[in-house]
């Protein structure tokens, strides 16, 4: 997953934007570290949706796991998929 980072102050800007929200300088694109942690989660039917935090970026995605042992701060890996022209986020637990 690509995110934007300020060329001057190095702040991560998310959702992606061509300007930094702090110093208003231009940003560059880079890959995000795809290892992060769960902030919070819930479940709809059998689908677990959760807020994951990667570096300082938070996004909501689907947690793909059969484990019932899920807690905030559990380590997760981020995966992305383009579904119906929309970027969709998936997470998997890291042991």
């Amino acid at each position: 997953m690509i995110i934007t980072e300020c060329k001057k102050c190095n702040k991560l800007v998310w959702p992606n934007c061509k300007f930094c929200s702090i110093c208003l300088e231009k940003t560059r694109k880079r890959d995000i570290n795809n290892i992060g942690k769960i902030i919070e989660f819930s479940k709809k039917d059998k689908t677990i949706f959760c807020i994951g935090e990667f570096e300082q970026i938070r996004i909501i995605g689907t947690l793909q796991t059969n484990s019932n042992d899920i807690l905030p701060n559990s380590r997760i890996k981020l995966h992305t998929k383009n579904l119906h022209e929309q970027l969709t986020y998936f997470f998997t637990l890291i042991d």
Partner: protein, 367 residues
């Protein structure tokens, strides 16, 4: 310059599928007849809606024979209504206008239902997902349970029985709420406000006009607004920072404190929102919102959300902030019928948008 709300009107909140223009016309026509104001005195019409229809305020002016200085639409998702009221306040207090109609409306399936622009929500853009995450995080941090949440829903649905315009017409027990259809692990259907079709309107006036044309005007004495982000995932999931700051600003403007508020309408889009709002407004300490709601439920005290809130009244998005204000004005005029809070002198409205990323607080008084 002081600014007053003098008159109000509303349609019933329903699931009717009609044109947005038609429902706006209904509430404004009613307001003009009830207030008996000479249409020539109207300086402006502000419309709050998430509808994509263009040039709506000019259309309403045309069809009701109003030739005003200005007529336009204000859109800010669920808090469009109070944002329009604040704009009217600014016009009047600056001396640019003396009388403004503020009218809000939306249909049961509005464009503002889902906030598509929040990329951080991924494919979970419907409000039920942020509400579930708020609920789960709050339960985890403060140890509330399904009964605490169900009491809020039950209380507000029951309040709405005395609101003639409310969508809800049924009584629900705590058990009914708990047994209602599960939407997610943390949210039942009766924890969610219902999007519906409706329109509410108010007439706002300068002091000179209010003295001349109204016998019981209600004055707006405090205003606070704050927008902290667009993307809710950045915030703490157990509080509403925008509500907290907007409240502090509103109380600072009128030099009052939360314990001086006699009656309030808070934005209970979901039952968890009432708990978080009453804490962040300052009615109780953080972590004690459920205790206060429980006490109100047990004592049948309807000082919070007497019209039924969004849960009981329904949520016609653009009309909600106006409808909340109409309720507080009725309460302060001692005209709220079976919903009346005795000796209500100061009232508060809390209206917010997009998982509380922005909030408006209004404080009104009858004195």
């Amino acid at each position: 310059m002081n600014v007053f709300v003098t008159d109000y009107s509303s349609t019933h909140f329903t699931l009717q599928n009609i044109e947005i223009r038609s429902i706006l016309l209904s509430s404004v026509q009613k307001l003009l007849i009830q207030s008996k104001i000479d249409k020539k005195l109207i300086d402006g019409i502000l419309i709050s809606t998430t509808s994509n229809s263009k040039y709506l305020a000019a259309q309403i002016s045309e069809f009701l024979g109003i030739k005003s200085k200005f007529a336009f639409t204000i859109e800010n998702l669920c808090s469009s209504g109070t944002n329009a009221i604040v704009s009217a306040f600014a016009y009047i207090s600056s001396g640019l206008a003396n009388a403004i109609i503020v009218v809000g409306a939306d249909l049961y399936n509005p464009p503002g239902k889902i906030f598509e622009c929040d990329e951080s929500r991924g494919s979970y853009k419907h409000p039920i997902f942020w509400a579930s995450l708020f609920t789960k995080a709050y339960k985890r941090k403060y140890g509330i349970n399904e009964y605490d949440l169900a009491r809020i829903s039950s209380k507000n649905y029951n309040h709405a029985l005395h609101n003639p315009y409310a969508f809800n017409k049924k009584t629900y027990t705590v058990e009914n709420i708990i047994d209602s259809k599960k939407i997610t692990d943390d949210l039942n259907i009766l924890h969610c406000s219902k999007l519906c079709t409706g329109s509410s309107a108010i007439l706002m006036m300068s002091e000179n006009y209010a003295k001349k044309f109204s016998t019981d005007p209600v004055r707006i004495i405090g205003i606070g607004q704050f927008t902290d982000s667009t993307f809710f995932t950045k915030n703490d999931l157990t509080s509403m920072p925008s509500t907290k700051i907007a409240s502090q600003n509103a109380f600072s403007m009128c030099k009052l404190t939360p314990n001086q508020i006699d009656v309030a309408e808070v934005h209970d889009a979901f039952s968890i929102c009432e708990i978080m709002a009453i804490e962040d407004i300052g009615f109780t300490k953080k972590g004690h919102g459920a205790d206060l709601s429980n006490e109100l439920y047990q004592t049948k005290n309807n000082k919070i959300n007497p019209r039924g809130g969004l849960l009981g009244s329904g949520h016609p998005i653009g009309a909600t902030g106006i409808s909340q204000t109409m309720e507080i004005v009725q309460q302060l005029q001692n005209k709220a019928g079976k919903r009346q809070i005795s000796r209500a002198n100061i009232g508060l409205i809390h209206n917010m948008s997009a998982a509380a990323t922005s909030s408006t607080i209004l404080i009104l008084t009858s004195s």
